[in-house]
Structures are given as C-alpha cells and as structure tokens.
Amino acid sequence: MDIKREAMAGTLESSDICVTVQPAAEGIRIDLNSTVENYYGDSIRETIGAVLQELGVRNALVSAVDHGALDCTIRARATTAVKRASREEPQK
C-alpha cells in the first residue's frame, strides 16, 4: 500500500492509541509517545511495524500517542490509519 495522504485513527482516551500516518520519502519511521513506554514501548513499535509490513507499506512516517492500549487495539488503529492514508480522497 502507498501512503498518499495524512490520516489518523484512534483517540487520546485511556486504553486507546491515536495513530497518525503520513507520506514519507524513504523508509519507515515510528515516533511513539506512550504512558507505558518503559514496559511496552518496544512491543508497541514492533506491532505497528508488523502492521505496516503486512499491509505492504514501505515508506511512511507514523506518530502514535498511546494511553495504554492493548495489542489488539494498537493493531486495529494502525490498520485503520494506514487504510485511510492509502485512499486518494479523504473519506466522505
């Protein structure tokens, strides 16, 4: 999937993660700000990276603000953000 525009999914509420995906020239960069960085920071970056790979995203800038989302939520929000960002037009 190609990232064509900036898109976001998720919220800033407790147990959720807000993932923003933007087009990037080369490679993947994941910026994470998490309340559970010390315990799950690496795992969250890994999950987001895995979602990007599964969806065939090669170039993207991802920024995520996490408030203790479970892995399934991280997966869902990252997927939605990528799918939204790969559409030409903002969703109606």
Binding site: G10, S15, A76
Partner: protein, 295 residues
C-alpha cells in the same frame, strides 16, 4: 440463556476490553447507532481485532450491523463473519424480504470464509411500525431466525407517540412480538430501559416484560445488568416448585400412578415443560445440577 443483552459501543477499546466482566449473558457490539458514519471503518477494525484476541468468558457475542438501507452492512459482515459471532443483529427489520436478503448474504459469506452453512443466527431488531406488523412473517423468514428484539425508541418515533416510562404506547408492540415469536417457536427480547439512574423503574419495567412472556431484556448501561438478570432468573420459590414437580412425577412413577397432582393442581405437560425450563435456567445460573437433585 439470554436474560441480559448488553450494548457496547464497538469503537471504544475500554468498554470492549471489560465487556466480559459486566455480568451480561450476551454482549451486543454495536456498529450502528453507537458509531459515527466516519468511524465505521475504525469500529469494524477494532471489533475484528478485539473479538479475535480477547476473552469474553461465557458471554455470547452478538454484533449489531448497520441497516440494509445503508452502504455499510455488507462490509460490516465481511469484517465480522470470519470471527464467527454467535448472532448478527440487523436493525430496523421491516419484513420477510429484509431477512431473506440478509440470509442470502450470510450464506454467501459463510461459503467464502469456510463457515458451516446456516450456522450464523439472526436476532432481528424490530423498531418500526412496519416491522411490528410483520413480526410473524419476519420470525418465520429464515431458519437462521433465533429471536425478535423490540426497539421501542425508534418505534415510538415512527408511531409519532411519546415514549414514556410506563410504556402503554408500546404495549401493543410488546404483545405482538411475544405472540409472533412464540408462534414461530423462537425467542423474544424486550427493549432497553433508558433511564440509567432509575433502578426501581427498571425493575418494574423488566418485571412487566417478563410477565408478558419476554425471555430477557437488552441493557444500554452495565448498571442495569444485575437487576435485569435477577428479574429474569427463576426465584427460589420457582425453583422449589419445579423440584417438587419432578419429585411428584418420580414418586407417581414409582407407585405406578397415572394422574399426578401437586398442591391440589393437576400436573400436565405445560407445567412439566415450564418446570424443566426453570431448572435448566437455575442450573446454568448457579452452576448446580438441579436435575440431579430431583432424582
């Protein structure tokens, strides 16, 4: 057993994660009214991932999809069906054709995802005047039909009447749904009580619905679950009576008696059936085998 069916918004991770702990027999994950049109994609994705990885204990999983008159329902099913929810709840069901259209789509998707044909059941939400009038036809429209569920909020708007706590405006609809569902041999569930704070009002409303023949009631607040569970559970007196019924039957068999009576009343087939349902429910709720105790 479906005493309580608790609605949960499908796009709220916090609510979803804790859904299994709220005491409801069934959870209705809502993709319809609880999700804004521009968040349908996020809600489907979240629900798909949550259903695939979280443990909801003994709770039955129901998914309320978007109506067949919207552009969302087919994609809802594409996402959700592979996770084999126990039931699909279509909203604003108007007649038999509506159910047949849904049935067809489910058959198609079951084949696509390798799910046994016909295994996905339907709990139809009737919340329009048309739906209420066509209740019996709807109840018989598909072998997938497991139950009817009354939605009184939309219905009263459609009827152009005011929704009240007493609910006289929905009395006809309630009676009609119970009758149609029972005639078709399926279950029937009552509309949620919408005042979250008023637990006494809730109890009265649930007692009334139980008295009409409803099998259970939906809840829009976790705070309502315990009350509704209690109302739709057999009382200790119910359980005792049912045990006595089986005890006199056993005693009559031993003595070779034909006609049996208990507390001056003839024990006939409907009474035995009722007693069986009571003990089944009580056994399930309390984790005790009441039938073993009657032998």
């Amino acid at each position: 057993m479906r005493r309580t069916m608790l609605f949960l918004p499908s796009n709220n991770p916090n609510m979803i994660c804790n859904g299994g702990l709220l005491g409801a027999d069934s959870l209705i994950f809502d993709l319809e009214d609880a999700v804004a049109p521009d968040q349908k994609d996020a809600a489907r994705e979240l629900l798909k991932n949550a259903l695939g990885s979280l443990n909801f204990g003994k709770c039955e999983i129901i998914v309320r999809i978007n109506g067949l008159d919207t552009p969302y329902w087919e994609e809802d099913l594409e996402y959700i069906l592979p996770l084999k929810p126990d039931m699909i709840m279509p909203p604003k069901v108007s007649g038999g054709d509506y159910i047949r259209t849904l049935d067809q789509k489910l058959t198609e998707l079951e084949a696509k995802f390798g799910i046994p044909a016909g295994s996905t059941r339907i709990l139809a939400l009737l919340e329009t005047a048309q739906g209420v009038e066509n209740a019996y036809e709807i109840a018989r429209a598909s072998k997938r039909m497991m139950g009817l569920f009354l939605g009184a909020e939309d219905l009263s708007a459609d009827l152009r009447c005011k929704r009240t706590k007493e609910g006289s405006e929905i009395l006809y609809a309630r009676g009609r749904l119970v009758c149609a569902a029972r005639a078709a041999g399926i279950e029937v569930y009552d509309t949620p009580f919408t005042d979250v704070q008023d637990l006494d009002g809730l109890e009265k409303d649930a007692e009334f619905a139980k008295g009409l023949g409803f099998s259970g009631k939906a809840c829009i607040s976790p705070a309502h679950v315990d009350t509704v569970n209690r109302v739709f559970s057999p009382t200790p007196a119910d359980i005792q009576y049912a045990k006595d019924v089986f005890a006199v039957i056993a005693e009559a068999k031993r003595l070779g008696k034909g006609a049996i009576s208990l507390r001056g009343k003839m024990i006939d087939a409907p009474i035995v059936q009722r007693a069986r349902l009571v003990l089944e429910a009580a056994s399930e709720i309390e984790g005790v085998d009441y039938f073993a105790e009657t032998v």
